[in-house]
Each structure stands twice: as C-alpha cells, then as structure tokens.
C-alpha cells in the first residue's frame, strides 16, 4: 500500500509539475502587484469595412468575425449596443481584441492589445471553463487534473508522512495547526460581522 501511494504521489507530481509551477508562480505574481506591476500594454486601433450577409446573432456574427479577421482566443462579452452597433471581445493568454461594429453595420474597429509577461501570467492563471475552441476544453481538463492533484498531494502526503515517520508529534502539531487555522478562518468569515 505504501509503495502504491508513494508512486501515485511521485508520478502525479512529476506529470503535472509544470502546470503546478505555472499556477503557483503566476499566483505569486498576482498577489504581489507592487513587485510585479501590471503596466498597461500599448494597443493598435484599425478600422475595416464590414460586409456581412449572415444572421445578426452574437454566435453567427462572432464566428464570421473570428474567421474574417483571424482572431485568436475565445469570444467573450458579445452584445448588441443601444445605438445598434455590436461589441465583441476575443481574448487569449497572449492578446486581446476588442471589436466595435458601427451602428450602420458598415465598419468594424478592432483594438488589438498584446499582453506583456505579467499580463500573460495573469491570463494563464485565470484561464478556465470548458467551451470555445477545442484547445480551451483540453486546457480546462488539465486545469481540473491540476486542481485534483492538490488534494491528492495533501492526502497521499499525509499518509506517507504517517507511514514514514516514527516520531510524529511535530507532524501532528503542524497538521492540527493547518486544518485548525483554515477551519477557524472559514467560520470567522461565515459568522463575523
């Protein structure tokens, strides 16, 4: 049993190591904005004529725009505006494209913003949910595996410590402190004024 649990702990860790490092390094960058400030990247704005014969729905129009202008990423925030125009955002980890269709439906203005390193790390960290191009669902699946691995590392790690260590007092103190503190914090946030 010990050998099996150890192999699970080891090989799941090795398999997902790079993703675990990605999430924790990007998490460190996100929680220390004074050390890693998010500088506003520069954008380019270009206007194009628009010729669209299809149905004016977010889904169909969005798909047309993605193909016509070779837009990367997933479509987000597609909506018809009060003035009759349309607004779309296509975002990926490395760039963002905001599209604004004129009220007369004859022009589209594209604001293209490439992300810098800090921006990419923020976006990679927040990239989740299934849907969109197939690659994003694959990413979401790996994200799920990485999330599950956190729980797996904790559970298998506790088992391995228990089996490996003869003198467990310090371990019990650390484990009790960890779970006790987390539980206290959850209760505090639920019930404190």
């Amino acid at each position: 049993m010990y050998t099996i649990v150890r192999k699970i702990h080891l090989y799941s860790g090795l398999s997902l190591l790079l993703f675990v490092l990605l999430y924790f390094v990007s998490g460190l960058v996100m929680t220390h904005e004074t050390l890693f400030p998010r500088q506003q990247p520069s954008s380019t704005v270009v206007e194009y004529p628009l010729e669209y014969q299809g149905t004016w729905t977010a889904q169909e129009l969005g798909a047309f725009l993605a193909t016509r202008f070779d837009l990367h990423g997933r479509m987000q925030d597609a909506r018809e505006l009060k003035d009759g125009g349309w607004s779309f955002v296509y975002a990926s980890a490395g760039q963002e494209n905001k599209l604004r269709i004129s009220p007369g439906h004859d022009k589209v203005t594209i604001t293209h913003t490439p992300q810098n390193t800090v921006g990419v790390l923020h976006r990679l960290h927040r990239l989740h949910r299934y849907g969109g191009p197939w690659f994003y669902s694959l990413w979401a699946f790996v994200y799920d595996l990485t999330s599950l691995s956190m729980i797996l590392f904790a559970v298998t790690g506790i088992y391995l410590w228990y089996k490996l260590t003869a003198r467990r007092l310090l371990g019990w103190i650390l484990l009790s402190t960890s779970f006790g503190y987390a539980l206290t914090t959850v209760l505090y946030l639920l019930y404190a004024p």
Binding site: L10, L28, H72, A93, G94, F153, W161, L183, L190
Partner: protein
Amino acid sequence: MRRWVLWFHIHGMLLCASYLVIFGVSSLLFNHPFAWATPKPTVVRWECPIVLEPAPDKMKAAEAVARQLGLMGWVLPWQTKLNADGAMRIALSRPGKEYVIDVPPDGRSARVEERRAGVWQVIRQLHGLMGVRNSSFMLGWAQYTRVCTVFVIFAAFSGIYLFATRKSERVAGWLTLGIAGCTAAAMIIYVTVAG
C-alpha cells in the same frame, strides 16, 4: 542533505496541507460553477445608530460608516452613492458577506441589508486571498497564502531532488518529467501565442 530536504518537504507540506485542499477545491469550483456551490444568499436586515462625520468624498464617508458599524470589507465605488441631500447608499463586500447600507439624510442611523454566502463560496474566496480590509485577523491568512505559495514551489523542486537521488526511480521519473514537461510547455506556448 537528502534527509533535511525530505524533512522540510514533509513538514512544510503538513503545515500547508489544508491550503492545498482549499486550492484544489476552490480551483475546481472556478472551473465548474455548480448550482449547489452558489446558493442564494441568506438575507438579514438590521439597524444601528451612527454618527455621520463630515468627509471629503463619498468613499471616505462610506468607509467611516463601515468602521462605525464594525464591518470589514471593501467599499464598492460603482455601487456607492452620496445624494445631494446627504443620504447615502453604500455597497460593502468581503468574502462571506455583502452589505447594502442605507444612511438617511440626518446621518443618525444606518439600515443594513446583510447577504450571507455559503461555505463553498467562502472556500472559493479564500483562494489566494491576501487579507480583508479592516480585519486584523485576516492579515494572518495573507501571510499563510504567501508561505504556502512559496512552499509549494519549494516542494516541487525538492520533490525532483528526492526522486533523482534514488537510483531505482531515476529513469522512469526523468522520462515522466521529460514527456509531461515538454507536453505542458507546448500547451502553454500554444495557448499564449496561437490560442
């Protein structure tokens, strides 16, 4: 050397075990917003006398009201209003609760509508939380977040060291790390450049 690395790997992660579980559960909830994990909030209303002090702007006035009521959290500027007659509507938010506070023009009382979130929402909001405004208690959680984040990075590298120093697992381990690492790197590059 190996003995000490193993000791720190084990005992550091025992200290961070609960946060690992919180990271895992909260991340799953981000990826799968299940309805049972986001129930409708419980609403409680109460009233309290206050003394509205003069303040240079609506944000300072709102924060002063929150302090008088003993509430922690962040004032939401886009939902906070100060009318010409002096009446205020303040939106305050923190993990676990949201408040809408109405202060009448005389500024002598505050009517509070408190929306209480469920335990799953609190667990989700603890993910990477670096403290809560006006809460000394939550400063500890900010440090715990920092410690656990750094320690997981240490555990990743110490884990490589620990398997690499064992002859029996070296080949299989490096093979797994190599294949998985290259696949992961390719995915990260693809989603950044072409995704």
